[in-house]
């Protein structure tokens, strides 16, 4: 059997599967490095997000491999050999699974080297997330093997792949339904979310039982299929009846704050702490500019660590920075501009009515823009006369104007806001 496996690995669909999975892995990693850069949990989660595509590819590969005997017209010949019927099925499945997993893990190992250079948080059970991802690949290959055995169509492989893809994509939209946990594909939630250990363990058991069930069905081993089917149901029931995928709790160790020791305080959660130097460089000058102005924030902190349910605009002297998609593959900052834009929450006029809609006068909006430009020290365009006038005032007067603006904006005092804009 080992020799048969070796032959399959060299001559079957396996090399193609490995190449396809490697290519797909590299491609997925290259398109959204902001989802995984610098974070182990992000990398493992991203593998699970990518399973949407990778499972489809594995199913196509499995179906192609196990349909070969029929395409070559040698299925009867093989059936006449004195070997147990399940052996070729298992060998075909094992070859595709091993090759696909190696191809994919090869691609992710490259990303892991990039992550390992900078990562500041290693916990969060990401190792188990990854393991269940590999089990999902094995289950997908088993689906493919079964389809290849049952469906005599030449295009069975791609159609099975696309059907899986659609099925898994629909499941993602079942946000909150616990049955969505039966799909190994993650819905792209925040990297610091903690998937309960119970769910991970049950998912592993479910995927293993499903794999055995599918292989037993493909090899027509009725007793093994019944046993594995029973196990699969046993694992699936607690998943379906458990809590859903909605609002996962944050990993407390991942969102623990790491703060700068000098200058205005900048605090990032541990999982994003590798960005702290880049963030400090952008944020500290703005905080220094606001230092001592009544009503202005005194520190900036990672939004990941914000207490659950708190609004961004609560006046707690903190600017909350959104860093979930701010890491490049090499661990640098993606966009200084959007980090600066997070400071708009400071100057935003709090004029929402209870339903959350925001109706705002154009003149108020202009004053808002002026205050934001002043705060961020934006370069003035020649036709931006009010900003130039504000800058030409003595420094204390500028700060007084800004303090008056903050006071009016936080109270949504429209007439004061218009007056502040027009006095320049």
């Amino acid at each position: 059997m080992r020799r048969a496996l070796r032959v399959e690995l060299r001559r079957g669909t396996a090399p193609l599967a490995a190449a396809a999975m490697f290519g797909a892995g590299v491609w997925m990693l290259a398109v959204h490095p902001d989802d995984w850069g610098g974070r182990w949990a992000g990398l493992a989660n991203y593998l699970r997000v990518s399973l949407l595509i990778l499972c489809a590819l594995m199913i196509a590969a499995g179906a192609w491999q196990s349909g070969r005997e029929r395409r070559r017209d040698i299925d009867e010949l093989i059936a006449s050999t004195p070997r147990p019927g399940w052996q070729p099925v298992v060998v075909a499945w094992l070859a595709v699974t091993l090759a696909g997993a190696v191809g994919l893990l090869g691609a992710f190992a490259g990303a892991a080297v990039l992550v390992a250079r900078v990562a500041t948080y290693t916990g969060g059970g990401w190792w188990w997330t990854l393991t269940v991802g590999v089990l999902a690949l094995a289950a997908a290959a088993a689906v493919g093997v079964l389809v290849g055995r049952l469906v005599p169509l030449r295009v069975a492989a791609p159609i099975a792949g696309l059907a899986t893809y659609l099925g898994l994509a629909i499941v993602i939209y079942w946000d909150g339904n616990p049955a969505a946990w039966l799909s190994p594909v993650y819905g792209g939630w925040a990297v610091y979310s903690l998937v309960p250990d119970r769910v991970t363990a049950l998912q592993a058991a479910w995927l293993v039982a499903l794999t055995v069930l599918l292989l037993a069905a493909a090899a027509r081993q009725r007793r093994a299929a019944l046993l594995a089917g029973g196990l699969a149901v046993t694992a699936a029931v607690p998943i379906i009846t458990g809590p859903g995928t909605y609002r996962l709790p944050a990993d407390p160790a991942a969102v623990e704050l790491v703060c700068t020791s000098s200058g205005p305080q900048v605090c990032l959660s541990r999982i994003n702490a590798f960005l702290i130097d880049d963030v400090t460089e952008v944020v500290q000058p703005i905080l220094a500019r606001l230092d001592g102005i009544p009503g202005a924030p005194r520190r900036a902190a990672d939004q990941a660590a914000q207490p659950a349910g708190q609004s961004l605009e609560s006046d707690d002297g903190t600017v909350w920075l959104s860093l979930d998609y701010q890491s490049t593959a090499l661990g640098g900052l993606v966009s200084r501009k959007s980090l600066r834009a997070d400071f708009r929450q400071v100057t935003r006029a709090r004029c929402e009515d209870p339903s959350g809609t925001r109706r705002i006068d154009q003149r108020v909006y202009r004053t808002d823009t002026l205050a934001t430009d002043w705060m961020l020290d934006e370069a003035a365009t020649p036709d931006n006369v009010p900003l130039a006038r504000l800058r030409s005032l003595p420094e204390p007067a500028q700060r007084t104007w800004f303090a008056a603006y903050l006071d009016a904006a936080h109270r949504c005092d429209t007439s004061a806001l218009i007056r502040l804009g027009e006095q320049l």
Partner: protein
């Protein structure tokens, strides 16, 4: 005579399966598109991107096996204008696919509707025809499957002319470069297929060249 030949040709290429398949795909595309467009949490007709990307791909995949007969070498030895037959086969299939998909996307045709479906049908059929030339009808599905899946999975967030050209399956139908790319792919794939036909399967090639 030609009538009889035509019937035989269609039967030998599995045209009936293809027609039924395209009909089913068009129905599914219509149902999925209507469902997606009517969800309050999506952005109306523009939520039909998955349908626009995948329905033409599925139809083109079904076209793959019809691009070659049971024995290409034997067919080539018959005194028929095969280039004309191949051209007719591909064009009729493209028109059938396009018409079926147009019917599925008539509602708001310019925001991920009929227009984009036609463009993607052209591109996917071109990829499948090219795949048949290079890999044989058996594996003709591979390039289209891999390419469209990869683009759909990883459509970039930014849009530029270059992105619009290579990510044509997920572009809105108002973007000209996406049409140019899809049309070019169709032209090249169709020209290759009409000129050379599907590559003969490996076993036959080996036998005809005296290999093992």
């Amino acid at each position: 005579m030609t009538n009889r030949l035509l019937t035989l040709h269609l039967r030998s290429r599995g045209a009936f399966t293809f027609l039924v398949g395209v009909g089913v795909i068009a129905l599914l595309a219509w149902a999925a598109g209507t469902w997606l467009a009517s969800r309050p949490y999506f952005d109306g007709p523009a939520a039909r991107v998955p349908v626009v990307a995948l329905a033409p791909l599925l139809a083109a995949l079904l076209l793959g096996p019809t691009l070659a007969g049971a024995d290409e070498d034997l067919e080539h030895s018959t005194p028929l204008p095969w280039r004309a037959w191949r051209a007719g086969h591909l064009l009729v299939a493209a028109v059938v696919t396009a018409v079926a998909l147009i019917l599925a996307g008539l509602r708001a045709p310019d925001t991920y509707g009929a227009h984009a479906l036609v463009r993607n049908a052209l591109g996917c059929i071109g990829l499948v025809a090219g795949g048949a030339v290079l890999l044989g009808a058996r594996l003709a599905w591979l390039p289209a499957f891999v390419y469209v899946c990869a683009v759909y999975a990883a459509a970039p967030r930014q849009t530029s002319v270059v992105v619009a050209a290579w990510a044509w399956p997920v572009q809105p139908s108002t973007i000209t470069p996406s049409w140019l790319t899809a049309a070019t792919i169709f032209a090249v794939g169709a020209a290759g297929y009409v000129h050379g036909g599907s590559r003969a399967s490996a076993g036959r090639r080996a036998r005809s060249t005296g290999g093992p």
